[in-house]
């Protein structure tokens, strides 16, 4: 054993070097969140569960039962029954969406010419009851509480502001914290 090794062992150089790596993580921001207690905000484009929006003027849904979303849907999970309202407006009598088939591709939102169906940021969809995954018109309308407000003002592109976060270091997820 050389002199260098004796000095190294006497001064715990290797142990200090190892512990300095461990100790760094006491001071840097942690990358994990304790999920049920604190939750991350998904970005504005996040494709969560769908919602049907209400037109504030008429109080009815914006949907005009044009069948575009039901036609483009690659997994065919949307079924719509259209009808005419007494004032001659087209309107869905039934709007059913089967979440157990949905692949969350976002095509329904993208093709909707009235911006009536939107993908919200709600992602907590786990359930014990399969019937919860079958969304009818009332439940889709009720989902609009999850829709971000920016969508009402500027539907579609560039409407929603960036999630701040531009200044946050990539080592943290500060910007996504609520």
């Amino acid at each position: 054993m050389g002199l260098v090794d004796i000095v190294k062992k006497g001064t715990f150089v290797d142990i200090l070097r190892g512990m300095s790596v461990t100790g760094t993580y006491f001071v840097v921001d942690k990358v994990t969140v304790e999920y049920p207690k604190e939750k991350l905000h998904p970005y504005p484009r996040f494709r969560g569960v769908q919602a049907l929006l209400t037109d504030p003027e008429t109080g009815d849904t914006k949907c005009v039962a044009c069948m575009l979303c039901a036609t483009i849907c690659p997994s065919r999970c949307i079924s719509i029954v259209g009808e005419q309202t007494p004032d001659g407006r087209s309107h869905p009598a039934g709007f059913d969406l089967d979440l157990s088939r949905c692949v969350f591709c976002g095509f329904c939102e993208e093709v909707c010419p009235e911006a009536a169906i939107v993908m919200t940021r709600q992602y907590e969809l786990a359930t014990f009851d399969k019937n919860d995954l079958y969304l009818d018109k009332e439940r889709l309308l009720a989902n609009q509480v999850y829709a971000h407000k920016e969508l009402f003002a500027h539907p579609g592109e560039r409407g929603a502001p960036a999630p701040a976060a531009a200044g946050a270091a990539p080592g943290t997820q500060e910007g996504r914290r609520p």
Partner: protein
């Protein structure tokens, strides 16, 4: 000083462990075959489909003589979903969400390749901004794929912490994907004629931070793994697959490049914005597991370079081709412009009208060459779609790779060629 603390340099250790020549490898395999015929004392071991280091539901039936693998019979198809048949009943737009379930680790590459093939069939020109955004997203998915590969590969060799380190860093890339496309794995972001959405506000700064930061992380991976004695001994000169073997088994991607062949479709048959960016093809020459690791680390660095150049030179203009016959309109136009709304209805109810003909388009997916074949009889739906997925060819080469090796090296070799069973079975 204790010799155990020396870091092995590649040159010193290459002298220490003899690298078998082509003739010796051939002789070794022939010897094991002869042995198999002669002796009846073979132990059969079933590995998979639930084995964690088969990276999916791959089953390999190994015939062992002691510790040496004599023969391997791979079984695939446990994840078969009939994607190619499903494609025949969907319009070209509707196929896009199906493609990102092929190789779900690098979903955007699959979207991109299919759209390139469909554009070649229909003769659609992609605007410059669309091409650059595609390139950025494609390279981001290469980053995510290689980092995940490294974590799982090294975990197969027995470390647990390193897996968590890699997953932590992959999270930054997935975060960018969530910001850009709205989903973390199944992006469905490419469209025929461009991409679905423009870059969001704040994406540029955030992406630059990640690509400045990842090369530092790669240096840290190399500090932990590259000169790690255990990793070195288990990876160096293990699973040698030379260029001749790669050609014979149609093995591509990092495995082929680690055998000294600078084959990269981004250079050889350029697409998207690759002709306009500068990057090097990562090549190594030893053709073993260790060199596949080195190639992938180089590719992460090159991908960061490509993304930086694309962000610097990002042109203005439309990101989706204004091609009323073949592409969906931009959403904000649909709400304002009657012509765009007519295009929207036309594209949904009639679909993109493709001419008769057949096309093949290969792209350099993170795992290797990904080929898309479309035969069209006209109309909005393809008559036949075939995906020539890299994982399928890599999976069939597994017997050639592991026969004659030790049973403990099977997982190392298996992981090094990078399989995903969603891609293989489709």
């Amino acid at each position: 000083m204790d010799a155990g603390h020396d870091l092995p340099t590649p040159d010193a250790a290459a002298g220490a462990t003899h690298r078998p020549t082509q003739e010796e490898l051939r002789e070794r395999k022939a010897r094991t075959r002869r042995h198999l015929e002669r002796t009846g004392e073979v132990m059969t071991l079933s590995m998979g489909p639930q084995h964690p280091s088969t990276h999916g539901v791959y089953r390999a039936v190994l015939d062992l003589d002691g510790e040496v693998v004599l023969a391997v019979r791979p079984e695939i198809g446990n994840l078969h979903r009939g994607v190619e048949k499903l494609c025949e009943y969907r319009t070209y737009h509707q196929i896009i969400p199906l493609t990102d379930r092929l190789d779900y680790i690098s979903g955007f590459a699959m979207n991109h390749g299919f759209c390139e093939a469909a554009e070649k069939l229909m003769g659609v020109e992609v605007p410059d901004r669309g091409r650059y955004i595609r390139t950025i997203a494609h390279e981001l998915c290469r980053l995510a794929n290689h980092i995940l590969w490294l974590g799982t590969h090294v975990m197969d060799l027995g470390t647990q912490t390193f897996f968590c380190i890699c997953f932590r860093d992959r999270e930054y890339v997935l975060d960018l994907f969530e910001m850009l496309t709205g989903a973390r794995l199944t992006h469905s972001f490419c469209r025929i004629g461009g991409v679905a959405k423009d870059l969001p506000d704040g994406f540029d700064q955030r992406c630059r931070k990640v690509i400045d930061f990842l090369p530092k992380r790669v240096a840290e991976y190399e500090r932990i793994i590259k000169h790690n004695r255990i990793y070195y001994k288990r990876a160096k000169n293990v699973g040698i697959f030379t260029a001749e073997d790669c050609y014979a088994w149609r093995v591509t991607g990092p495995t082929l490049r680690s055998a000294g062949v600078a084959r990269d479709l981004r250079k050889d048959e350029p697409y998207a914005a690759y002709p306009e960016v500068e990057f090097e093809v990562a090549v190594e020459y030893n053709a073993d597991v260790y060199d596949r690791f080195l190639v992938r680390m180089k590719e992460i660095r090159e991908s960061c370079k490509i993304i930086r150049q694309c962000l610097d030179n990002l042109p203005d203009g439309p990101f989706l081709a204004p091609d009323a016959g073949h592409s969906l309109p931009v959403k904000k136009n649909v709400l304002r412009d009657p012509a765009a709304m007519i295009q929207d209805f036309y594209q949904v109810f009639r679909g993109p009208q493709a001419p008769k003909g057949e096309v093949y388009r290969g792209i350099e997916a993170p795992k290797g060459e990904m080929g898309f074949y479309i035969r069209s009889e006209g109309g909005s739906k393809p008559a036949r779609v075939h995906f020539a997925t890299p994982s399928f060819y890599h999976g069939q080469a597994v017997p050639a790779l592991v026969e004659g090796e030790m049973v403990a090296d099977v997982v190392a070799i298996f992981a090094s060629v990078d399989l995903v069973l969603g891609d293989c079975d489709r």
